[in-house]
Symmetry: C2
Subunit: 423 residues, 2 copies
């Protein structure tokens, strides 16, 4: 190791090619945008095909692959001193149903690109460097996001994670077994020395400020609720309003109220989304008997999050009273806000500045594996800007080759520094 590692740069074209190639796995034509999208829901055949592609690249880069009990992959480049904890980088490659090519994939393929660059330049590090692929980060299929990293970090028990089921009743455990994804690394995993993850911002802030790199302060608190609203089916033409128990109206009132809560400003930087709604019997001339809705809440501030949940539950009681329905609420995910340690933020900012990149400090709106691994080790994140207001979970998601390379060059330099730090 010499000082000239500061001048080493990743191969922008190779990184880009790997992003494009992985985006072909699970590709579909998206009618909404008329673009090619990606659908690689966790632990489906498509997700496993994506893993196989990336794991092949990892093996070709000389990495040693292991899996843990929830199917997370760790691809290791040996350091000079195996008694030292490794530097871990990574993210996920599972996707939502209407995804682009970048969410998660940039962190995994960027980690691979870092290793490839170290190889190409014969750079040896004191600590090993490991590239992780975490299982079911999106939470879309089985209902809990950051599932794999949460199990790795010990926040969620392995048995509870394996027991989670998708809409068809298929469990995480059954899918892990079907695809033979269970490895011998026990969870929770041994804490790495540090964890770093490069990710697309998935928001408009960096682009608006014309910033090249984001130094991530931390991750918002996330709460997911599933509300089951039980009303009564009735004839739409012959049942006076006063005799209805309209589960659909109750759902609509909750949706509008959540938006009012956000706009009130009373809950800080709160975000609220009702993404899913399933009406039963879902027919034009029948008052809905049962409606299931999901509520996705985000907040930078844990106290404001809790207050918003309490106030929402008070409102649900009011809706029950006004409409005559019954509402049950189930919390399907709940993560506190995470603040990344100062030394990791400083490291990212320093390397970005050395590279001549403009950067800004921002809080992540989305949940990330780094927020889970932060429970084990010092963790940090690097954001890169996206076009179109940073739209994500949509085939229009797009970060330029330059933006991706900037983020991964920061990752490279930060990894080299961390992997040579032994104090």
């Amino acid at each position: 190791m010499t000082n000239d590692t500061a001048c080493v740069r990743i191969d922008k074209g190779r990184l880009w090619d790997s992003l494009i190639a992985l985006g072909e796995v699970g590709a579909y034509h998206d009618q909404d945008t008329d673009l090619q999208g990606v659908c690689r829901l966790a632990l489906t055949d498509e997700d496993v095909a994506g893993r196989e592609l990336v794991m092949g690249w990892m093996r070709n880069a000389g990495l040693t692959l292991r899996r843990d009990q929830i199917g997370n992959v760790y691809a290791r480049r040996e350091g000079e001193d195996n008694s030292l904890a490794p530097v871990l980088v990574g993210s996920h490659i599972d996707s939502v149903a209407t995804a682009g090519r970048f969410d998660g994939c940039l962190g995994v393929l960027g980690g691979l690109e870092v290793v490839r660059t170290l190889n190409d330049n014969n750079i040896f590090t004191k600590r090993s460097v490991e590239v992780a692929i975490f299982t079911e980060e999106e939470g879309v299929r089985f209902g809990t996001d950051m599932l794999g990293s949460a199990v790795a970090a010990g926040r969620i028990q392995l048995a509870d994670a394996r027991a989670q089921v998708d809409r068809n009743g298929i469990s995480v455990g059954a899918e892990l077994d079907r695809h033979a994804l269970v490895g011998d690394v026990k969870v929770p995993i041994h804490p790495p020395y540090a964890y770093l993850e490069c990710h697309i911002e998935q928001g408009p802030i960096l682009a608006e400020g014309r910033m090249q790199v984001g130094v991530v302060r931390g991750v918002q608190a996330i709460t997911w609720l599933e509300l089951t609203i039980t009303g009564r089916a009735a004839h739409a033409g012959a049942t006076p309003q006063r005799l209805r128990k309209n589960a659909g109206l109750a759902a609509a009132m909750i949706n509008v109220h959540l938006n009012d809560m956000v706009e009130s400003g009373d809950y800080g930087q709160m975000l609220a989304t009702v993404g899913r709604q399933d009406n039963y019997p879902n027919l034009i001339n029948i008052v809905p008997a049962n409606v299931l809705i999901t509520v996705d809440l985000r907040n930078h501030d844990g106290e404001a999050m809790q207050r918003s949940i309490d106030d929402l539950h008070a409102y649900l009681a009011e809706v029950e009273k006004v409409t005559g329905v019954k509402i049950t609420s189930r919390t399907t995910a709940q993560t506190p806000p995470v603040d990344f340690p100062e030394q990791m933020r400083d490291l990212v900012e320093k390397q970005a500045t050395h590279l001549g990149l403009t950067c800004d400090h921002i809080t992540s709106g989305a949940g990330h594996d780094a927020g889970e691994i932060a429970a084990l080790s010092p963790a940090g994140m690097i954001f890169v800007p996206g076009l179109y207001d940073g739209i994500s979970h949509n085939p229009r998601e797009y970060s330029t080759p330059e933006a991706c390379a900037d983020g991964i060059n920061v990752l490279l330099q930060a990894v080299i520094e961390l992997a040579n730090t032994t104090d």
Copy 2:
């Protein structure tokens, strides 16, 4: 024919047994109510099995069966003078997906019971009596209610009706052909002398007033709209509210606004229901990109109906402005209010009074085949009360054997009078 026909009564047990037997066709266990329900969507195998059962009974009662071009069935008991237009009675046996045993079936099986009673008592009438089974009255499968009777009455063209498709793209015409339901009676049909239909009230008014029979003034206007709301999919955690085009929020605002319109009292006796909602992509952490909702509007007053539609469209423009979504509206059904002629209402009231039954004049909240046939001939309806606030389109739908018999005894006496009137 002698005056003693005034003392003839239908066989209450036989009528009831036929209702129960038909309710076994398409029966299912309803999880919501833990009761046996009926699912006999129009032109499905279940609907056709129900028709076969009833048509067998009709043939056993000596009736001659014909079908028209949209599959409506006419079962004829010959009168003494075939040059006279027949008295038509009937209703439908197709059902919503979560139905009880009475909606429509009472009118068809009541008509059959009238004929059986005439047979048992050797009562001959001057005019023929025909019992009709109308196709797709519910409109749940193909999107337009009273489809069969509207084609019979000439309001809807046969080709347009045949071209209607269900959610799977299967057309009315294809189903009619598959089941060989097309008959040789041309549509629009020859006007009958008069049309009478006995039906459950599907509302709470008769039961609240402890009335045994309802003399139906007419049928509410009905408008069905299908609203397609186009927003933009976006990440629920990283997309600020101001950058969203939230199709789900727009749908909720419309639902709440419709309820406000009803409660304002500004539109007379307006009813509004958003029964169906389909979100896309329907995932917990994605702002809905596209939402389809249906709107079912009812009004006693045609002018108030039109005003409510105009005001709703003005509100849709407001929602587009506030949320950034685009909304397209398609009218899938629209029928004006129908007033049944005074002589038919008087006839029903007179026969009910002769039978010693308490009765009240009420306007139908639901659409009925009688509202369509009213365009051809003098039409009238007899309502019978239901338990549980007259709940309908639900397995809890229930009218007692006595209530059913009361209505059909009124029908019997009215049919005898009409079928012997030659002026």
